[in-house]
Symmetry: C2
Subunit: 149 residues, 2 copies
Amino acid sequence: MNKEYLDLAIDYAKQAFDCNEVPIGAVIVKDNKVIGYGYNQKEKKQSVVEHAEIIAIRMAEQTLNNWRLNDCDIYVSLDPCPMCASAIKQARIKNVYSAVSNLDENNLKIITNIFTKDHTNPEVEFKTNLSVDKSKELLNKFFEKQRNN
Amino acid sequence: MNKEYLDLAIDYAKQAFDCNEVPIGAVIVKDNKVIGYGYNQKEKKQSVVEHAEIIAIRMAEQTLNNWRLNDCDIYVSLDPCPMCASAIKQARIKNVYSAVSNLDENNLKIITNIFTKDHTNPEVEFKTNLSVDKSKELLNKFFEKQRNN
């Protein structure tokens, strides 16, 4: 785990914030090099698929010209949803480092089952709440702005 | 449920088969009109995201210029993976009609939790094994071809 990449994921989350999107960012790292990154663009692109993680995965796949993101880690500013968790698993990403957790009991169970109990792909290590304050502040600011509009 | 659309999803699966992709197809219907369709292109595009359902969802979103696929149904030639199930849920698709089930106990639990227990979006109705023979035959033919190569 390299805190710099977590900060970078939060920087991308800020780009989403500036576009009035829920501020979530993601960075994919292999051999200490960033090979993919993204921030949430659901509203701009009008697509549920355009989450930060999916955008970062597609970029990393293009960088490697391979859907197998072996020995890659993903840094995210917020825990992944089940869609992104399953994409991470299927892409064979090794570690998920998340700044802050927002999972309720059901979603935590879903994510855990996806990462550890589906044996068609290697197990994913998932660590969260690694940079709570910075990421939470951004999310709180976003939802406050939403309430005021 | 309209069997014609299930047959159409299987027709798209055949297109995947012809491209040496795992033969899976999907069709999205609103008001008795097809507004999105797709077939698996994971290998061609070298991306774990390029599942039939995701491609169909993106097309339907573009058709409606909206990520909210309210009152839409998706017809699939095989049960969705957790990534696609979560995308279906987040897109607010109403019904999933699947030709054949391939879910083990863990994945069935994940899918069920995604469709019914996450209350941030409306519940998704999921019916499977609606056209087992046709879809299974295609899948078996594909894996036989794989073994022979």
